[in-house]
Symmetry: C2
Subunit: 218 residues, 2 copies
């Protein structure tokens, strides 16, 4: 499958490399065509890894992943172009983190809105599925780094798009039964709002390699 | 120990009954002295269970638990009286849930503030510890209803008050090593912001008897 990734940071690169290793073709998109990180990634990714602009990556992908920081996601997706996103599964991994001068991290938006919802509203023809934003990218593509079962959460308005997302996550090593469908795209608020806890835990543990397991009554 | 509970709902009553069963003396406080739920609870709780006003419960307790809904907690604690809270451990269980007409549940405050912080700011002489607000009250007092380890989170500015909270939770059946100290009271934001996920999970599972387990790398 051809996959476009919007964003060239560690998340985009990690996902891109895993997808290439699984036999997919990947274009990593950045704001400018000469982005050094994207070019370096493509150079080592082999013939199935490409670099391009946001628009080129979105046009290339049958599926598009938003791996930008949440506070710049809408600008990046505008540059990618609504005409390249319509009708496609758009997996949104973003968390809208704002790092304040006082050391606090807040979300923008939060509580009454989410990045996932904003993307769906601005690109109504895209099939937005919120996913993967609750785990570190090393775990995204290798859930067996943790012992036993642990959870991912998905949210979105289109059942087929969510099923396609679950299948893609299966390729990363996530059993379908570990993935909890929280409902429509407004549930993106719930997973984005887990970030303050996640950041506290990361600071406490000194590692990003942890995840949530939901335990139910015996 | 003498414990004052602010709030007469299911959370307050469940905690009160457990505390009485553990040999503590409990006064359940309500807005008015003739609150029927509080009087009925005290009648069946035996000689160690009492009912009274918010102020009477706070004055009675060597430790005070805030078991009111988060949107009314400050009003209830003002009625309880700063003079009855100063110097005491004040365990805050509140979540500031606002149920909107459109079926969405939001928090007020959220993200840049929390009920835990607001209480600590308004009652600077109290030793506020945020705890227990991430689990259903049946689990609060019986963590063994779920199989295996699962987590509670605490936050607060006073290390001794947190240690005292951990000891009290131990009486409820929570091993100290299951409880994660997230830091100062601003971390109350993190646990209050887990509520949107919790509510989605509750609707999905059809039960409130679940909890989070944090899994770390092997």
């Amino acid at each position: 499958m051809r996959i476009g990734i919007i964003g060239t940071g560690m998340v985009g690169q990690t996902l891109g490399s895993k997808l290439v290793s699984l036999g997919h073709q990947v274009t990593l998109g950045s704001r400018t065509k000469d982005n050094e990180k994207a070019l370096a990634w493509a150079a080592q990714a082999g013939p199935d890894g490409h670099a391009g602009t946001f628009a080129e990556a979105a046009a290339f992908g049958e599926v598009v992943l938003n791996a930008t920081g949440g506070t710049v996601s809408l600008a990046a997706l505008r540059a990618a172009g609504a005409e390249h996103l319509g009708g496609k599964l758009l997996i949104d991994l973003a968390n809208p983190l704002v790092f304040d001068a006082d050391g606090q991290v807040t979300l923008d938006p939060a509580n009454t809105d989410s990045i996932g919802e904003r993307i769906q509203r601005e690109f109504p023809e895209a099939k937005v599925v919120k996913a993967l934003n609750t785990v570190n990218c090393a775990l995204m593509v290798a859930p067996d780094r943790l012992a036993g079962e642990h959870q991912l959460f998905i949210a979105g308005n289109d059942a087929d798009a969510k099923a396609e997302t679950v299948a893609l996550l299966g390729g990363f090593g996530w059993p379908a039964e570990w993935i909890i469908d929280l409902g429509d795209i407004t549930a993106a608020r719930a997973t984005e709002m887990m970030m303050p806890l996640w950041l506290r835990l990361m600071r406490k543990f000194g590692t990003a390699e942890f995840n949530y397991r939901i335990q139910q009554a015996k």
